[in-house]
Symmetry: C2
Subunit: 357 residues, 2 copies
């Protein structure tokens, strides 16, 4: 029996509901494949604020470090938006990324044939879209210093943030991206704003230099404004995209929305030494929390990503992904992906269908 210790961060809103389904599914697959999972829960975001007064208690960081992988559901709620920045749920999320050194964020945006009509784009434009956005996650303007609001000489306030990347930061995310492209269709598009920003020019120069080590991967460069256009115009042109923290935040969400069903998309955040963190792309959906209406599939697919990228259990990951495909093929749908002729299920019933599959 292979034994794994998994930290669960259910977080806020629909988080606990969808996490429960993912745990159930993992347990079933674990039994089948002789894997044993020890789950330990920890607090993050609003849930942590309620219990301890801070969004990322030190105990949570310890628990995460002391495990083989971390599964996060979702954090945040409108009521925390007025708190000072260091006490907000988002600060907890940024904090855990930094504490675990999770510099590489993998965000797949893949059109599922069963849900293609959910896209706002024409079928012939999105059919077959399969993009992997590799986003740098612990640098750039999210973490650059100096930052803050300062008084100018004339006495007015001035807000300042710093977008910065060192060569070594670019190199390590670049290598992750070239490796990812290598396992996919061997095309990597690096996105920057090198016609305006010096930090982007350094980014472009380093990625270009790295490409010498990956002659089998075809590298291209694109400005971020053009990338935002090209994702709408013809998303099939992209295979793997690599970009910085801010551009990756924007473009991975845009790419996700091309599928029309962000309730289906998982993501992985990986570092060099600490355990990886896996979470759905969608948010905590406070409006439907506690009503058994949430779609647990992105959470379940995040567990599959954890098995694949975090624990190297490819067969277990495949099985979970196949079960998701099967329930979709059966016509099982939660409200967010419902369409005529399909069967509307709640969160728990969807979980039961997955377990059966």
């Amino acid at each position: 029996t292979q034994h794994y210790r998994i930290t669960l961060l259910p977080g806020d809103g629909i988080g606990p509901e969808i996490m429960a389904i993912a745990v159930e599914v993992m347990q079933v697959v674990g039994q089948q494949l002789d894997l044993s999972f020890e789950f330990q829960e920890a607090l993050l975001g609003g849930a942590a604020i309620e219990a301890t007064g801070e969004p990322l208690p030190a105990a949570t960081v310890e628990t995460c470090k002391n495990s083989d992988a971390v599964l996060l559901a979702a954090i945040g709620a409108p009521k925390y938006d007025t708190l000072p920045r260091h006490l907000r749920p988002e600060t907890g999320l940024l904090g855990i990324r930094a504490a675990l050194g999770l510099f590489a964020n993998l965000r797949p945006a893949k059109i599922l044939p069963q849900l293609i009509d959910a896209s706002s784009l024409k079928r012939e434009v999105v059919e077959g879209v399969d993009i992997m956005v590799v986003r740098e996650l612990t640098g750039g303007i999210y973490f650059g210093q100096p930052r803050g609001v300062f008084a100018t000489e004339s006495g007015e306030q001035r807000g300042v943030n710093t977008m910065a990347y060192a060569e070594s930061e670019i190199d390590r995310i670049g290598r992750v991206a070239f490796e990812a492209a290598r396992k996919r269709n061997k095309r990597l598009c690096s996105v920057d704003k090198a016609n305006v920003l010096e930090v982007s020019q350094l980014w472009r120069d380093r990625i270009t230099a790295l490409s010498a080590d990956y002659p089998d991967v075809e590298l291209s460069h694109m400005y971020v404004d053009n990338a935002a256009m090209q994702l709408v115009r013809n998303p099939r042109q992209f295979d793997t995209i690599v970009t910085g923290n801010l551009f990756g935040d924007i473009l991975s969400d845009e790419a996700a929305m091309l599928t029309g069903s962000i309730g289906m998309l998982p993501s992985a955040s990986l570092g060099a030494t600490n355990p990886g963190l896996f979470e759905p792309v969608h948010g905590s959906a406070p409006d439907i929390a506690g009503q058994d209406k949430a779609n647990p599939l992105a959470q379940v697919l995040s567990a599959a990503m954890m098995l694949r990228y975090g624990l190297d259990q490819l067969i277990a990951a495949d099985r979970i992904e196949q079960a998701v495909m099967q329930v979709l093929d059966q016509g099982d749908r939660t409200g967010d992906i419902m369409s005529t002729g399909m069967t509307l299920l709640g969160c728990k019933a969807m979980g039961a269908a997955l377990v059966k599959a």
Copy 2:
């Protein structure tokens, strides 16, 4: 006779070809409405680099200042991408924006019924889309100091740019946006990343404070990653958008591409005192330059925007816009917007059709 002095910046690629059409159309409308235009040409971008060695000669700034409005076509070509930054065409464009203090960039993205099938989005999603993006154009990370590539203590290179906004910069673009929303559907969405960036929090606070002066305009706030998604999911939810320089660069291009025909979209850049600058959203298209294949309609519509926003000649602007609608209704198309059953025209023939209309 009302007399206007107009600076023309034909720039690079298809620039001179499409500029010639716009001039022709303006002359016809001028004769009809007793307006006289004195056109003076100046150099910008690659054309300026070839002639003077720099992308923005001092004489160009003088000529622009010494006129009632500036009409720009497009700049840039791949061959300049390897020049040092201060000698690139884009630096000329950023330079003229700064020199004229053009802090407010208005970028409409409106679906034309005749071209709705050009969109990659479903008809029912884009029908009726009419968005105005108000982008701050002389501040933010485009111009913030410090910037550059510096050696760190460990000896590696580190690229740095600074995103900064002072209250007064936010207020003046905010007022332009509220005024613009007031003339439209009275809904303004301010886009920022206030959950991560201090500069965005200041932005959000100031825009919120300003809204007290515009009680008739409904203000909302949205994070930039969500805005990038919502533009794809349901663009009709937006009326007027206001945002900073970098987010505006990305979102205005994304919004433009929703229409499927960026060869149709004009833009205006306005300051407090100097003449405004008007230009198409599309680029210089070096691949089709000199082949009489370019679509001159965005350039012609930029001239209309110049008449409307720069010279307050609303009737002349209306006439030009009506002529564009008429040629589209007739089925006249350049290659980029061609579809079956329509008449394919070159750039000059399209100009002739406009003059006739």
